[in-house]
């Protein structure tokens, strides 16, 4: 398959692994931000191909994992209401809330639909004028343009029954929070290629400079990831801290101006709580005042419900790269994809699920 096979080419992979081995003279710790990259690394066994000096730690770039418990409880409450059609991408349905997950609401009779695009939710609103259709807008900057477009489309059609529950999160403030933490051990970053395809990478320049940390925009296939690692290691070995682009076939410096404009029109930047991490200033999107009538949070005014996190779960430390999934006492025993305690064991992008699914013998 074109555009895929060449980036999973065994010879190129081996060449890159060899280049990284030759280059590496000291121990380095590198974080891949995006959960998609975490899964690719573990699925393709890339971590096992790297020299022992390199440690890959997994970042908070799984939007499902960092969506706060209170937000999931709110989604569960809204989805349980009569006359609501609650729409979401599939992963969110299995994330445990304090009491139950969305799949259980569905089994109990809640009208919950998995959609592949927020525009499908707009179509549902159009087709069901007597229902209130809510779309759970979860994701990083990558999914924000489509979600913004859905709001604009609903406005164009004068739909009164379409609402967005926004749980959007932003990458650069998360990187800043990780680097500012006294416990930080990350020395270089692989930035998330798809986020940068929308936003570009100019906002990473001041971060790299201020924290003397190399940041390389990286793709998702084995060759992409190894190339990103190789460029980070090269910078670390030479003591430089630049922003580089290893995903030039997709990412431009300025990103996608049309998409950025749409985001800016519909969303404003707000402080956002991250599950397991806490509140990060300026790290989320909420609807602009002009679009508040589409805001599910305001429309349904669900009162805050007392949340309850399992005490044993170390999701917060995992998401900050402080600990690895298999270092958790519950990993693979009390906590499995069928009976998850924390979101990273649920999501297709969660680090715990990746470790469990692809490498629990190695790490078990």
């Amino acid at each position: 398959m074109r555009y895929v096979d060449e980036y999973r080419n065994r010879d190129i992979v081996q060449r890159l692994v060899q280049a990284i081995r030759v280059q590496t003279t000291r121990p380095w710790t590198i974080m891949e931000i995006c959960g998609g990259q975490t899964h690719a690394i573990v699925k393709h066994g890339l971590d096992a191909l790297l020299p022992a000096e390199l440690t890959l730690v997994h970042g908070p770039g799984c939007p499902v994992c960092v969506t706060p418990l209170a937000m999931i409880d709110k989604a569960v409450a809204i989805a349980s209401l009569p006359d609501v059609i609650f729409t979401s991408f599939g992963d969110m349905l299995r994330v445990p809330g304090s009491e139950r997950d969305l799949l259980s609401v569905k089994a109990a009779g809640g009208n919950i639909r998995i959609v592949y695009s927020p525009l499908d939710a707009v179509a549902l609103a159009r087709q069901n004028p007597d229902k209130q259709v809510v779309f759970f807008a979860v994701g990083f900057e990558t999914t924000a343009p489509a979600n913004a477009m859905a709001v604009l489309q609903a406005e164009r059609e004068s739909l009164k029954n379409f609402f967005v529950l926004s749980a959007h999160v932003l990458v650069p403030p998360a990187i800043e929070a990780i680097l500012s933490s006294p416990a930080n051990r990350v020395q270089g970053f692989l930035a998330a290629g798809h986020v940068c395809s929308v936003m570009g990478y100019e906002e990473y320049l001041p971060l790299a400079e201020r924290f003397h940390t190399p940041i390389v925009v990286t793709g998702f296939e084995p060759v992409d990831i190894l190339q990103g690692i190789q460029m980070v290691v090269q910078q670390l070995e030479h003591g430089s801290s630049k922003v580089e682009n290893a995903y030039a076939r997709v990412v431009r410096r300025e990103g996608n101006p049309a998409a950025r404009k749409t985001i800016a029109q519909v969303f404003e930047v707000i402080d956002r709580q991250w599950r397991g991490i806490g509140t990060i200033p300026g790290s989320g999107y909420a609807l602009q005042p002009a679009y508040k009538r589409f805001d599910a949070d305001e429309h349904f005014a669900v009162q805050h419900i007392a949340t309850h996190e399992p005490e044993i779960c170390i999701a917060g430390s995992v998401l900050q790269g402080l600990r690895k999934p298999h270092e958790c006492a519950a990993f693979g025993s009390q906590c499995t994809p069928e009976h998850p305690l924390g979101a990273p064991m649920v999501s297709s992008e969660g680090a715990c699920a990746a470790y469990f699914r692809y490498s629990r013998i190695r790490h078990g």
């Binding site: 939007p63 994809p337 699914r357």
Partner: protein, 353 residues
Amino acid sequence: MADEKPDIAGYSCPLPIAQYKQVLLAHGGGGKLTHELIEKLFLPEFHNAELAQMHDGAMLTVGQERLAFSTDGYVVHPLFFPGGNIGDLAVNGTVNDLAMCGARPLYLSCALIIEEGLEMDDLWRVVHSMQLAARASGVTLVTGDTKVVDRGKGDGLFVTTSGIGVIPPGIDIHPRHARPGDRILLNGPIAQHGIAIMSVREGLQFGTTLRSDTAALNGLVDAMLAAAPGIHVLRDPTRGGVASTLNEIAGQAGVGMVIHEAQIPVDEEVRGACELLGFDPLYVANEGKVLAIVPGEDAERVLAAMKAHPLGIRAAIIGEVTAEPAGVVTLMSSIGSSRIVDMLSGEQLPRIC
């Protein structure tokens, strides 16, 4: 008498109901939750030696004959999809379950649960294709039942088929027979059925029409058993795909398995659709595929027999059975690394970012 019925009010459900107070869709997905349901709820209730074999069908001895007996319900949506419909799917599925026991399928029963308002023409098309499928696979539909439920209480049409076949002397197929050193064979490209259904259900348009692979496998299995009667295991990788089926066999036989990504046939269009949807073809359902676990010395002979049959032209040896690690399926990836291939967990879900 009614008052002699045991009082079950004091019993508790053996599933961890703290987590699952109600049945979820994933309980019928063919993955881990389905297995939990079978092992913790059904098996303890119905426990008997035949059921405990845990095969695609039950193998029964009646007089001198060994019979295979199987049943399967069909709830596919939509009723008509590229490459087939619920009717031929229901016939082929039960024929295949019997064939996977090494049996020659003979007789089928069929129960139709019809929703009030179903177009008569649609019903006829389904029934007609059942007849065509039965004729093609050499089975006879000898008994049936019809029920109609109120509009809104069914989804068009549900079909249940059961079947009986005879296991020829000398054939002894069972998942527990997989041995270290055996080879794993597959008759052709995977994931076609699941992707064909997904593409119509979700209205996805691709350059070509992706067709279901629904087919009766008894003719192919006959040819394989003629080439090597000592085949250890036959399984059709339906829901949960090749990954879940191999995990089941590895678990039942207490063996490990190694499969090679580069050897597993997947059509370009299907791979493309899987990439787009975030699916791994190893977990996508098939309806015309057979996994055979064959003693090493028989592997090439069985492969040749498969390739000589229309349903096995693209057959391949995709891996081998190992002693360790028991119960674990490992994939050697095309880039030269390895990873665990687990059983399907939950329903397959699309990527979100």
